[in-house]
Each structure stands twice: as C-alpha cells, then as structure tokens.
Amino acid sequence: SAQRPRPRVLLKAPTLAEMEEMNTSEEEESP
C-alpha cells in the first residue's frame, strides 16, 4: 500500500511579543 506520509511535527512558535522580549534581552546581553 502507498506509504502514508509521516505526519508533520508542529513547531511551537513564540508570539510576536515573546520574540520582542527575547530580542530585547539578547540586545541587553550583547555588549
């Protein structure tokens, strides 16, 4: 029987706001 494609893995995404926070903290960390 035709091989059924494997279900794709759902990648969890941070929200825009969380990305903003991550970005800000990265900028603060980097000298």
Partner: protein, 394 residues
C-alpha cells in the same frame, strides 16, 4: 550595479545536501536593509520566495532548530527594519508585500489539502515534508497586521495636511469663488506660509503614488483595496468634521465644490479599478452632507426630503449643519429655527449615536485572504546585485 548591502542577516551557514534534481533549495543570507528599488526588475516578493526556499531547505534536512532560527531571525529582522523606517511608505509596503507572500507560501506549501487546490504538480513537490508551521503562520499574520497599521499611519500622515484645503477651501470649480458666503475665510493654517494650500490634484497625485508603489511591489490586490478604503474613510471623516465645526464652509457653493471633488475621487478609483474597495461607501456621510448643503430648506416637503436623504448623518450632524448654514447673499434666506424644529421632530424616533464628530482614527479590521502564487520555486532567478554569494542550488 554596485550596491552596498549594509546589513546581512545570516540565516544559514553553508551546508551541502545531496543534489536533488527536482528540488530547489537555496542557502542564503538575506540583507534586510535591502533597498526596494534594488529589486525593481526582479520578480515581486523575491525576498519572500528566497526565505521560503531557505525554510524548505531546513525542513528538508529535518532541522527544527534551523527552522526556528530562520523564522525568528526573519521576523525580528523585519521588525527592526520597520522600526528604523517607520516613516517610509515604500519600505513598509515592501515588507508588507513580502511578509504576506511568505505567509501565503507557508500555507500554499504546508501540505494542507485546503491550501493546495490551485497548486501544480511541480509546486506540490516543493511542499514542506517534516514540519507543521501553523503557529508561525499566526505570528506572520500578526506581524502583517502590525506592518499594515504602520503603512496606513504613514499614508494618513502624508495625506492629512492636504485634505481640508483640497476638499473644502480650494476652488476646483473655477468661478464659484464669487458665491462664497459673507465672512468666508481661508483657514489660517493653509495660509500660514502663503501657498501652503493644496488642490484636489495633490491628493490624487499622492494616491497615484501610493497605488503605483504597492502594485510594483506585488502587494496583494485585496490588501491594496483595504488600504484605499481606509484612506478614503479618513478623507471623509476629516472633511466632514471640519464642515461640522466651521460656519464659513457651510454654504451652497461648498456643497457644490464637495460634490465635484468627491466625483473626481470616485472617477480616480474607477480608473484604477479600485471602486469595489468600498471606498466610496465610506464617504457616504460626506456625500450626504454635500447634498444637504444644496437642498432647499424651507417647507415641510424640504424637511422630508432632507430626512430621507440623510441616512448616513446623525440627527446631531444634520441639525448642526443647518444651524451653521450660511446663505450666499442677501437674496437667500437663512434656515429658520422652525424648520430645524420640523427636522428634529421628523428624526426624533431615530436613536442616533450622540457624538457629533466622526472618529478620524477609526481603523477597519484588515484581512489577508489566502493568495497562492503561480510561480514555481525553481523558476526563481536571484539577481547578482543582491550580493548573495551564499546562494547554492542543491
């Protein structure tokens, strides 16, 4: 053409994957400070297609970390560029086009049947294999809303100074000036530095410029329609609010002027095939105010005509315009208090909103209907001027 690419957003380090004749992966680092003009000859939304191919490569290699880093750095990179260019219509429109196109690609090539109905067999080969990016699609949709709102804010900021003088003060119909009401004055701000007044042509020129930029950059037609619906609403609100606050423009001749200006704007919309945007409908209050200025205001029948025609104006607005109405000359009678009482009596069962002025800052909710592309990934050519020497076809 020598170009300086100010900033590279390194997305992927170079890595090799087995050559696959029917798949087109590109490794790249995308300069997000790209000048839109640099891509004027290329396929619209080229950055979006390149980004998708990069994501597809990471998916193909089943590398979830790379997909996360790709999408996160892309989204953060776009936000950075937009923050830096928060008054640049062209750059904002450019990244709205590309963000929406990337969103459409993530749907079109998601593997979800519902998004593949218009795909060719070749396009179906370019679908993602390992990851479901539904949550990232939501983030890109939220980002698109933010970019759209920035675009509207920029466009409104450019149009705002033109509206009152172009719609209410400038005599687009020559010869009407002789019939200005007594006490008519040009607004101080439009006279402040001499000729700082605008004619309707200035608004139309600006609309042309907006439309040309958005079309050249491949912005979805559905979104272009929403942009102009929003901008026409603002023209309607700013103009009507001035009419409701200024006695010197509440006259028969201004009514005539307004109807002419509105017809010119409608003609422009039709000429650009934008009349189905709903932009004209958003101007209905202003259209009816212009009619009201020109209708007779004496008898019971006149009152009935005004009430039946002014369905998009509130009672407050109708009464305010009648109170402000200034006869052209001594031959025209002023609107009597009794006539206004008649109007109020006829409208009393209406439960109108109480506020007099329109909210010029009102934003219609924006939607991004799915808009699949007919392009196939391996037909995409990357112009050398992009300096993307990392590109590898694998």
């Amino acid at each position: 053409r020598q170009v300086t690419v100010q900033r590279k957003m390194r997305i992927l380090t170079a890595s090799t994957v087995p050559h696959r004749s029917n798949s087109c992966h590109l490794l790249l680092s995308l300069p997000l400070d790209l000048k839109p003009q640099m891509l004027s000859g290329a396929v619209p939304c080229l950055p979006a297609y390149i980004l998708y191919m990069c994501i597809r490569h990471a998916d193909y290699t089943n590398d979830d970390l790379k997909v996360h880093s790709l999408l996160t750095s892309t989204i953060n990179g776009i936000k950075k560029v937009l923050k830096k260019h928060n008054d640049d219509f062209e750059m904002t429109s450019f990244w709205l086009s590309n963000t929406c196109r990337l969103l459409h690609c993530l749907k079109q090539y998601s593997g979800d049947e519902g998004f593949m109905t218009q795909n060719t067999a070749k396009q179906n080969e370019h679908c993602l294999k390992n990851f479901d990016l539904t949550e990232y699609r939501q983030v890109l949709s939220d980002l698109s809303i933010q970019i759209y709102q920035q675009l509207i804010k920029i466009a409104e900021g450019m149009l705002q100074p033109m509206i009152v003088s172009a719609m209410l003060e400038n005599e687009s119909i020559q010869g009407l000036s002789g019939v200005k009401p007594t006490g008519y004055r040009k607004r101080s701000s439009s006279m402040a530095d001499g000729d700082n007044s605008y004619c309707l042509e200035a608004i139309i020129r600006q609309m042309n410029a907006f439309h040309t930029v958005m079309c050249d950059q491949g912005l979805d037609p559905e979104i272009v329609l929403q942009v102009f619906k929003q901008l026409f609403y603002m023209i309607n609100a700013v103009t009507l609010n001035n009419l409701l606050l200024r006695k010197d423009v509440c006259s028969w001749s201004t009514g005539m002027q307004l109807r002419y200006n509105i017809s010119q704007l409608e003609e422009w919309l039709r000429g650009r095939n934008l009349h189905q945007s709903g932009a004209v409908q958003t101007m209905e209050p202003l259209i009816q105010a212009a009619q009201l200025l020109q209708l007779k205001k004496k008898t019971q029948e006149d009152a009935e005509a005004i009430c039946s025609l002014s369905t998009s104006l509130s009672t407050q607005q109708i009464v305010k315009i009648l109170n402000l109405y200034t006869p052209l000359n001594e031959f025209e009678e002023r609107v009597t208090v009794a006539f206004i009482r008649t109007i109020q009596a006829q409208l009393q069962e209406r439960n109108d909103p109480q506020q007099l002025l329109l909210d010029a800052k009102h934003m219609f909710p924006v939607v991004f209907p799915f808009n699949p592309s007919s392009l196939t990934m391996d037909s995409i050519h990357i112009p050398a001027c992009l300096n993307l020497e990392f590109l590898k076809e694998v």
